[in-house]
């Protein structure tokens, strides 16, 4: 009986083996022309990725690396020669011989209009990225007229598809309405919602698979809703907060941040962001801890991590409050 027919002895370390071989997908590359430059990009890449490889900063609102593109915001559209319409860069895959213009007047005009329509109806005050795009494309939402009146609490939720009054055009219709505060962890301020669907995707098949929210209604009455518009505590919500993590406008916000903003104490210039590891189970999700004056004010998760892909559970995202105990809040 040779040595290696004996059962391993725990006293003896297992020998160092070879480095495991991982499957590698060798991707062919295709040639396309972007803004006059002919470049080779990997097969299967999107126009957005191809542009980023060339250092082209294509704006996105409904796109996020850890979600499946839903193509709803149309801010990333680019001009594809031979195509009747502009095409969404976030989901259109490269094909050999494509000629793309990412910053033509037609593209800029389209992006400008998207921004103006959104900003005329939505409060973008907590969406710095959106505001950057507005200046980049010289968007003037005020040209649609002065802001229309806000809706009362629950008014937009009770709107039924097909039942609406045509606006008279004197004011810009808005989605303004009171903030929904029905739990101690996060608030929903749908005055700030641009209907990018990211929260729906994160709550659904792209991450959490809880399906607590969906888009209800049609046209200007469309909105994010729980089933039958029940409050979050009465819904299927499990408070992972992955919807907050992907929200690009601050419509979904930590209650801690919302309260501090209301009190005028939220000060991002005084905040640090530090990556560490969640203290709860053994999965090892990276937490980005946002701290202001040595107190934790919120927790997010970086997108570029294989462990959590930017998503967290209720404990990781919200379970830090005990650390702030016994510290003077001044």
């Amino acid at each position: 009986m040779s040595d290696n027919l004996k059962a391993p002895d725990p006293l003896v370390p297992v020998p160092q083996g070879p480095v495991p071989v991982l499957p590698t997908g060798s991707r062919k590359s295709v040639e396309i022309t972007i803004d006059g430059a002919t470049v080779a990009v990997p097969e299967g890449a999107t126009l957005l990725e191809a542009g980023r490889m060339q250092g082209i900063d294509t704006p996105t609102l409904c796109f996020l690396e850890n979600l499946t593109p839903v193509n709803v915001c149309r801010i990333c559209v680019v001009e594809l020669e031979g195509s009747r319409t502009l095409v969404p860069a976030c989901s259109r895959k490269v094909e050999a011989g494509m000629v793309i213009h990412t910053d033509s007047e037609r593209v800029r005009h389209s992006r400008r209009l998207v921004l103006e329509l959104l900003a005329s109806s939505v409060d973008v005050s907590t969406a710095p990225q959106f505001q950057d795009y507005m200046s980049r494309y010289e968007a003037e939402p005020s040209r649609f007229g002065p802001p229309g009146p806000p809706a009362a609490a629950g008014e937009r939720d009770s709107a039924r598809p097909g039942h609406h009054h045509a606006p008279d055009g004197s004011t810009a219709s808005r989605v303004a309405q009171p903030v929904k505060i029905d739990n101690e962890l996060y608030v929903r301020d749908y005055s700030k919602c641009i209907l990018c669907y990211k929260c729906v995707e994160a709550c659904g098949v792209d991450a959490q698979n809880t399906f607590a929210i969906a888009v209800a209604g049609r046209g200007f009455g469309a909105r994010i809703a729980t089933e039958y518009d029940v409050t979050l505590p009465d819904s299927a919500c499990v408070y992972c907060g992955n919807c907050i993590g992907v929200c690009p406008t601050g419509a979904l916000m930590f209650k801690s941040e919302h309260d501090m903003r209301a009190a005028g104490t939220w000060d991002e210039s005084a905040q640090s962001q530090t990556d560490t590891i969640c203290p709860y189970c053994g999965v090892g999700c990276t937490l980005t801890v946002h701290a202001q004056h040595d107190l934790i004010v919120k927790v997010t998760s970086p997108l570029d991590q294989d462990v959590a892909n930017g998503h967290l559970c209720i404990k990781g995202r919200f379970g830090w409050e005990w650390v702030n105990q016994d510290k003077d809040r001044d």
């Binding site: 040595d3 370390p13 495991p20 709860y280 999965v283 934790i296 209720i314 379970g319 830090w320």
Partner: protein, 543 residues
């Protein structure tokens, strides 16, 4: 080396996933995201759990076995794989030992026999066996449902048998994975916080392995293993252990048979507790060292369930008077006559690297960038190993063969009798964690306090309504908790957590029967009786 053999991302490519004694949907929610990616791709998910949990809701097949019958089920799965000729003969012959004995041992475990013992449909067992064996890639994962038993090591070995039988280990996509319940339980073991291990999971009783430590530290280390946690309490009982230094653990609440635990802790000559929170254990202590929160007020590393060493960083300063674990320990060492200076986390880590071959390549510089590194990582050029035991697929196999284990089921120690006819099992809920010292503070809308979760059948039989307080009594203690009717439980099985020990001391009920090898208590199997509290029930009845 002990650790999950696969990486999380491999889960997403599995064709068959088995969660055995794991409610990952609630206890490892982000790991379950990877499971869901596989499920949404069409993978078959099997959940083996006495409770029909929120994880089981996602399963193609839920195997709701009776508590403590895991080995019977595992042996039956093995027998069915063999009876159907679905084993991986090539792998068995080249990479394993003890197969013939194992084969003969599982032969009596027919589907019918297991169905009777485990109370699981034979067809469900057959389906699990066939889907697991025929999958291109299969992931078999387990958690405390397997390990919190008096025969936990045998439970684990019986699952490892299934991986060896089918070749679902040691290659990309297939693996055997314990999901670690606490953020650094993997790292703690890797660092030698086990009775018989040194840093790098190296065996203390091996002279060759111990020598570098003796040389590095200029000492002669005792060559004999210490006690695990349960062994320490037995030693307190015998009067052999009289002083205890507890770091970041709350045994007064978390240990089974809490009356005994508290009595033994109170009987110590000296109890020192170092913790971030004044736990109930700390309240019993002679000396308390307030410690910084390791994950956010301190620098260092932790290791996750896929063996990934990850940096933790100081994001906020600890409160006044609260110090880093490292500072407390080095100060204490100085007072005890051993001046180790004022080491910083990176210096300690470099000492780990010097003494542990499997961590050697993990410099702080490498850990700082990217996502950390998976052990083993032998040198600074080594990328870390995404999956373990690839050597089992080398021909000939490098190193020792992987042994099959002959496992025989032993039913839970706490027997069901007429006096204690109900099986109580314990576990976690999504929003809470262990004894609640961290998770009990944030305003969770999901928190509902301790309950006795009971099947609709038993609720009817005992005449109980939702919310009604009920007395639960085991051979060791008695508590009162409100009833919660859960249709994921079947008659004879009830469930509680240990998240709210100040309100309901569930561990006064649990038994300290331990696995002799791992020292793990049988939290999953307590015999109890349930008594209606007549007065309280009247008070609750509608007016």
């Amino acid at each position: 080396m002990g650790g999950g053999t696969s990486s999380y991302r491999e889960m997403e490519e599995a064709d068959t996933v088995v969660l055995w004694g794991s409610n990952a949907r609630e206890t490892h929610p982000i790991y379950f995201h990877h499971v869901l990616k596989a499920v949404n791709r069409g993978a078959k998910l099997f959940v083996v759990d006495p409770r029909r949990t929120t994880s089981a809701d996602w399963a193609d097949t839920w195997l709701g076995l009776d508590v403590g019958t895991d080995i019977v089920l595992a042996n039956a799965v093995a027998r069915e794989i063999l009876a159907a000729g679905l084993e991986d003969r090539e792998f068995i012959e080249n990479a394993t030992s003890g197969f013939e004995e194992f084969h003969a041992h599982v032969e009596p475990y027919t589907l019918e026999h297991a169905a009777e013992v485990c109370r699981v449909a034979p067809e469900s067992i057959r389906r699990l066996a066939h889907e697991f064996a025929t999958a291109r890639n299969a992931q078999l994962c387990w958690t405390l449902g397997i390990t919190e038993h008096h025969n936990s090591v045998d439970n684990v070995l019986s699952l490892i048998n299934l991986g060896l039988l089918t070749g679902h280990v040691g290659r990309y996509g297939s693996g055997l994975n314990p999901l670690r319940g606490q953020n650094n339980v993997q790292g703690g073991g890797d660092m030698g916080a086990l009775p018989d291990r040194l840093v790098g999971f190296q065996h203390l009783e091996n002279d060759e392995l111990r020598r570098p430590f003796d040389e590095a530290w200029g000492i002669t280390m005792p060559a004999r293993r210490g006690w695990h946690l349960s062994g320490m309490f037995d030693a307190m009982e015998r009067g052999e252990l009289t002083s205890l230094y507890v770091i970041g653990e709350n045994p007064a609440n978390s240990e089974s048979d809490q009356h005994r635990t508290r009595r033994l802790l109170e009987g110590l000559e000296t109890l020192v507790v170092q913790d971030m929170i004044l736990t109930q254990t700390a309240e019993l202590a002679d000396v308390v060292f307030p410690a910084a929160a390791g994950w956010v007020e301190s620098e260092g590393t932790v290791t996750n369930s896929e063996r990934r060493v990850q940096r933790v960083r100081r994001a906020v300063a600890p409160p006044d008077g609260v110090r880093d674990d490292l500072v407390i320990l080095s100060d204490l060492a100085k007072r005890m006559g051993c001046d180790i200076g004022e080491p910083v986390a990176e210096a300690i880590w470099n000492e780990v690297r010097a003494l542990s071959p499997m961590h050697r390549g993990m410099s702080y510089a490498r850990l700082e960038t990217g996502q950390g590194l998976q052990w083993p990582c032998y040198d600074e050029e080594h990328p870390g190993e995404q999956y373990l035991h690839g050597r089992l697929w080398m021909r000939p196999v490098l190193g020792p063969l992987a042994p099959f284990s002959v496992c025989t089921n032993r039913m839970p120690v706490d027997k069901l009798t007429e006096e204690f006819p109900i099986r109580l099992t314990t576990g976690r809920r999504l929003d809470s964690y262990n004894t609640g010292v961290q998770s009990g503070v944030y305003p969770s809308p999901l928190r509902r306090g301790e309950t006795l979760d009971i099947s609709p059948d038993d609720a009817r039989a005992y005449g109980l309504v939702e919310g009604e307080p009920v007395r639960v009594t085991s051979r060791r203690g008695s508590v009162v908790a409100p009833v919660r009717i859960d249709d994921g439980l079947r008659a004879g099985l009830v469930f509680m957590t240990m998240h709210f020990p100040d309100d309901v001391a569930v561990n006064e009920l649990t038994i300290d029967a331990v696995d002799p090898m791992s020292g793990t208590s049988e939290f999953k199997a307590t015999a109890v009786r349930i008594e209606k509290i007549a007065v309280a029930a009247e008070a609750l009845s509608p007016v």
